[in-house]
């Protein structure tokens, strides 16, 4: 038993370092994809058909193909088109675009669930479209989309592990390195506990909102 703990203590710095990278992917993805998703959702509401078609196609592709495939495309595929990104930047780009599509769907559903009487009342009070969205529609939408949004955010914590495939030194990568080096699987257990801890925190936060 004490052997187990001393091993955990020994690998802990590397695991912690990996967890920090995972959290970095998590945070950067959210910071990029939440506003982008909102923008996509709002643009997707315009009446002009070609714009809607474009937005729908984007969402369809992002949700219809695996995130890992998209990550490979950005990291291995884009250099063919003269765009070469390092591994962590590739993760940021692929994750932001993918999660923006999911968030856009959630925002869109939320916005569409608001009664049309709210728009009519705003219009009758002389509010502009942007005032109506900012002051009336979006604040009401926020409350309704917190549950589906929380689900996606929790999924994101776990999805950060996909970055290991392109050798980003995140948590799972750190665990794998330790397992390969020391020929014991304890590091996987430690990684699992860290993921559980992170998702638990997020679950608790989302319940409080």
């Amino acid at each position: 038993m004490s052997e187990f703990f001393s091993y955990v203590i020994r690998i802990w710095p590397a695991m912690q370092q990996g967890a920090l990278v995972s959290l970095e992917i998590f945070a950067v993805t959210l910071i990029l994809s939440l506003p982008l998703g909102l923008l996509v959702a709002l643009v997707g509401l315009v009446k002009f058909k070609p714009v809607r078609w474009l937005i729908n196609t984007y969402i369809w592709i992002m949700r219809g193909t695996p995130l890992l495939l998209q990550l490979f495309f950005v990291y291995f595929g884009l250099p063919t088109f003269g765009i070469t990104l390092n591994s962590i930047t590739s993760v940021f780009v692929a994750f932001a675009l993918n999660y923006a599509a999911y968030f856009a769907e959630i925002f869109r559903a939320g916005i569409l669930s608001i009664d049309k009487g709210q728009y009519e009342a705003s219009q009758a009070l002389g509010m502009t479209y942007s005032q109506t969205m900012r002051r009336i529609i979006i604040p009401q939408t926020v409350k309704r989309i917190i549950p589906p949004l929380s689900n996606e955010v929790i999924t994101l914590i776990k999805d950060t592990s996909l970055a290991t495939y392109i050798t980003v030194p995140e948590l799972l990568h750190a665990a794998k390195t330790a397992v390969n080096r020391d020929s014991v699987t304890t590091a996987y257990l430690v990684a699992a506990i860290i993921y559980l801890f992170l998702t638990l925190i997020l679950t608790v936060i989302s319940k409080k909102l």
């Binding site: 009487g117 009519e120 009342a121 219009q123 002389g126 509010m127 005032q131 002051r135």
Partner: protein
Amino acid sequence: MDVLNIKNITKYFGTFCALNDISLNVKKGEVISIIGPSGSGKSTLLRCINRIEKITSGSITIDGTAMVENVNGKAKYISEKEVRQLILKTGMVFQHFNLFPHMTALQNVIEAPIKVQKKSREEAVKVAEELLTMVGLGEKMNNYPVQLSGGQKQRAAIARALALNPLLMLFDEPTSALDPEITGAVLNVMRDPAKNNMTMLIATHEMGFAKEVSDRVIFMDNGHIVEEGTPAEIFDNPKSDRLQHFLESIIR
């Protein structure tokens, strides 16, 4: 000068004609009730006046300014920005209140004065407090809509519309969604502006109230104005078969 001139307006939803060649002039201080069977176009008429719906053809002039005119048989609106300015002269009260649920009664009332009319917060709050007190919600200003009864919600909505100091109030069946025993409080709140020379257009099924407060009653059917006149003419001496039939059907 007339507060509202409506000339030969039509409104189509697809191929369905909801308003068919409606003309109406409203003088300052006039209280006009619009009655008629369900689907006759009462709501649509009110909604066209403050451009929640756009008319297909015809013209609408509010307080001397044309909002929409007929150009080659088609309705042509002034710019979006000008329309927004102009419809501030109208206040709308909806059947289902349409209060903003994430704002208190007070916040509902001050929203447009501050954000649209760019009044100072203090001034807006002062006016809102007076209006909410007037409609009997002095104690409930900080309640959210879910914390108000149906009748209280509608009174808050009336205060919200009055806060922009409109020339013309449009009421779309303000009491239809309410239990009969609380319609009285809402109608009372409407009596004051009616007596104080506020110009009002009221789509209503409350015949007693229409009879009492109206200077003029309009009977609509199938998108047409079939008959109009004083309350006495309309209710005691209906000329058309359709109005006679309608009045019989609602007395029950």
